[in-house]
């Protein structure tokens, strides 16, 4: 009985320690003035024992992309991706994150205002992760020059210097 308590306490303490070693990532969102960025810090879980460093980075990046695409909580005024847009997949290819977005991203409001704001937040979020400096976007698995009726060039990786 005592052994169980000790084991339980030991496990609790050990996992608590692990919790504390998780990092934080910065999630950026573009405010409704079209260009200034807001930032929210989110804690990440620590790397699991069975996860390699590169797997962890990819998982971290995928989480960041999902959050960036979802946007900040609803009471925050932000420029958001069209409803339903989600990250289909994310892979890391050296310093470039390949983000495949769902087809809902094509349902833009029109004009450049929203398009610029949405992708700025996504790019700044992903490039805040050490080792990532470019984001290559695809839509529903396909490379596109721009979104239909869009302005932003999407067939090359996007960098912070694009804004």
């Amino acid at each position: 009985m005592l052994l169980l308590i000790v084991a339980a306490a030991g496990w609790y303490w050990f996992s608590h320690q692990q919790q504390q070693r998780g990092g934080t990532i910065a999630l950026y969102f573009t405010k409704q003035d079209g260009s200034s960025l807001g930032k929210m810090l989110v804690s990440m879980r620590p790397r699991r024992a069975d996860e390699s460093a590169s797997e962890y980075r990819a998982n971290l990046a995928r989480y960041a992309a999902v959050q960036a695409v979802a946007g900040p909580p609803n009471d925050v005024a932000a420029i958001r991706f069209p409803p339903g847009t989600h990250v289909r997949s994310l892979t890391l290819d050296g310093p470039v994150a390949n983000v495949d977005l769902s087809a809902e991203v094509e349902r833009q409001a029109g004009g450049s205002f929203a398009e610029t704001g949405e992708f700025k937040a996504l790019v700044f979020t992903l490039t805040a992760i050490p080792g990532i400096d470019g984001v290559q976007v695809t839509v529903d698995g396909n490379r596109v020059s721009t979104l239909p009726g869009g302005h932003l060039e999407l067939d090359q990786p996007l960098h912070r210097a694009d804004w």
Partner: protein, 503 residues
């Protein structure tokens, strides 16, 4: 249109403004409030005296009043809410039409004009009141930005801006009467722009826009919001700037020396309490939050994706290529039954006519409602085709015309987009002219847009106004406004060409 439900009684209203006494004859009492017809000669005289312009045409839903501030006030027939600049306000009643003439709530119009009213006997006396401090509509469904906070006492004025040279550089002396707070920002090299907002102040006199000697390039002073005066400077380079309250107001000292690192924002107050404080730069400055430079980012000197294409010489220096956005299978954004593609073509044609009359050659990427490349083509083919028109012709510059939109009515204003360092001079010249186009100047934004990125010559993409915002919508659907914008863009191109002669 809604018929007025309570009894509408004809009445007349005598108003006094300055030295004028005016008798409103198109006045009715509606639900206990005064309503005035927009065709009333005395009302028209009042508007003229305050420097306001009213526009409405039969069949239009919106009655627009542009005040001298300028603020755009948008009344909608049948709606009890109106827009006072970016804020939605509850009116005393919904404007209605009577005998083909819109009637507006008199008290709301008075307030929108920045006047205060009080009764003296049977006359309503109007005088310049405190800057507008509207109460926002209760439970407005559109997520509007917060209303501007009421200006302190409303008496603070920016009475003048003087630029004097010294051996260290230039001093911009802003004369301010009264108390005010200020906030300044600067953008990173190579944008080299600095601006300071004097809050709680109004500008005495007309807006200023002029070139300045080194280390400045130009200066612009104008009333940015009803209670904010903005002084914007374009610098020759990353010059050192010191902002200091002075006995007469605020001093901006621009040094001839470049600085490697400079604070990007600051604030303070002038008047009876003088201070120069610092605010957290990251939270406020529009430039992105600083992160350590990412390795291997490619040719990113000066923050541009690549260096200027200084090798470009136009083979056709008298040729300007205009690109009406969208068209054919791509309608662009659509609001209130109006498609962006129609508006862009209309504005481009007006602009073409003005430029041709001034001696330019002009080529449109499309002159009718068609895709440029082929019907239902891909975005790549379509945009590349537009770029090709300009690149193959060796044009002097490329101007793409669009209308903007968002999912809510909040954002409004004119924005210019650039992609290459050399685009900036063209954008700056055009922005200077468009600043007074009747909607907000949202500035020049760098963006990796296909057409501005791939054209070899200086290029700019102009989002003229937001179709999704009622005030902007009324402007976009007004042929007079489109003509005005075309003229302003033409003036900007002229000025750019004059200031940047071809070798």
């Amino acid at each position: 249109m809604l018929a007025p439900r309570p009894a509408v009684a004809d009445s007349s209203l005598t108003i006094s403004y300055g030295r004028q006494t005016l008798r409103l004859t198109h006045a009715v009492t509606y639900s206990g409030h005064s309503a005035v017809g927009i065709a009333d000669p005395a009302f028209v005289a009042l508007l003229r005296a305050t420097g306001a312009l009213l526009s409405w045409k039969t069949g239009q839903r919106y009655v627009l009043i542009t005040t001298s501030t300028p603020t755009i006030v948008s009344f909608a027939l049948g709606s009890p809410r109106y827009d006072l600049g970016p804020t939605t306000v509850q009116a005393q009643f919904a404007p209605f039409e009577r005998g083909g003439e819109p009637y507006l709530p008199f008290d709301d119009v008075v307030r929108a004009l920045g006047l205060a009213a009080h009764r003296e006997g049977g006359t309503v006396v109007l005088a310049a009141g405190a800057p507008n401090a509207p109460e926002p509509a209760q439970a407005s469904p559109t997520p509007e930005p917060l209303p501007p906070s009421p200006a302190p006492s409303g008496a603070t004025m920016v009475t003048g801006v003087d630029v004097t040279s010294s051996d260290q550089g230039l001093t911009v002396a802003v004369a301010i009467s009264g108390d005010a707070t200020y906030e300044w920002h600067r953008l990173r090299d190579p944008d080299n722009r600095f601006w300071v907002d004097i809050k709680g102040a109004t500008l005495q006199g007309p807006p200023i826009e002029q070139n300045e000697p080194a280390p400045l390039v130009s200066m612009r002073v104008r009333q940015d919001e009803p209670d904010v005066v903005r002084i914007a400077l374009t610098l020759e380079g990353p010059k050192g700037i010191a902002v200091e309250p002075s006995t007469t107001g605020l001093g901006i000292v621009v040094s001839s020396q470049d600085v490697a690192e400079a604070p990007r924002a600051g604030n303070g107050s002038v008047g009876s309490v003088v201070s120069e404080g610092q605010i957290a730069t990251a939270a406020v400055t529009p430039a992105p939050v600083e992160e350590p430079a990412q390795p291997g980012s490619g040719a990113e000197e000066n923050g541009w994706k690549f260096g200027p294409r200084s090798g470009y010489v136009p083979t056709n220096p008298r040729l300007i290529v205009l690109d009406p956005g969208h068209g054919g299978s791509d309608r662009g954004t659509i609001h209130g039954g109006v498609a962006e593609a129609e508006l862009t073509l209309d504005m481009a044609k007006r602009l073409r006519d003005i430029l041709v009359a001034e001696g330019w050659q002009v080529k449109l990427t499309r002159s009718s409602d068609v895709d440029v490349y082929a019907p239902n083509d891909s975005a790549h083919d379509e945009l590349q085709a537009r770029v090709d028109v300009a690149n193959r012709a060796g044009a002097r510059c490329f101007v793409s015309i669009h209308a903007n939109a968002f999912i809510n009515a909040g954002p409004y204003g004119t924005t210019l987009y650039v992609s290459k360092p050399e685009d900036y001079a063209l954008a700056h010249s055009i922005e200077g002219r468009l600043a007074d186009d009747g909607t907000k100047d949202d500035g020049i934004i760098k963006a990796h847009y296909y057409v501005t990125f791939h054209t070899k010559m200086p290029a700019v993409l102009i989002e003229t106004a937001f179709l999704s915002n009622p005030s902007d919508y009324a402007l976009l659907t007004s042929p007079e406004w489109r003509q005005k914008v075309a003229q302003e863009i033409a003036d900007g191109i002229e000025r750019y060409a004059r200031d940047n002669p071809v070798r």
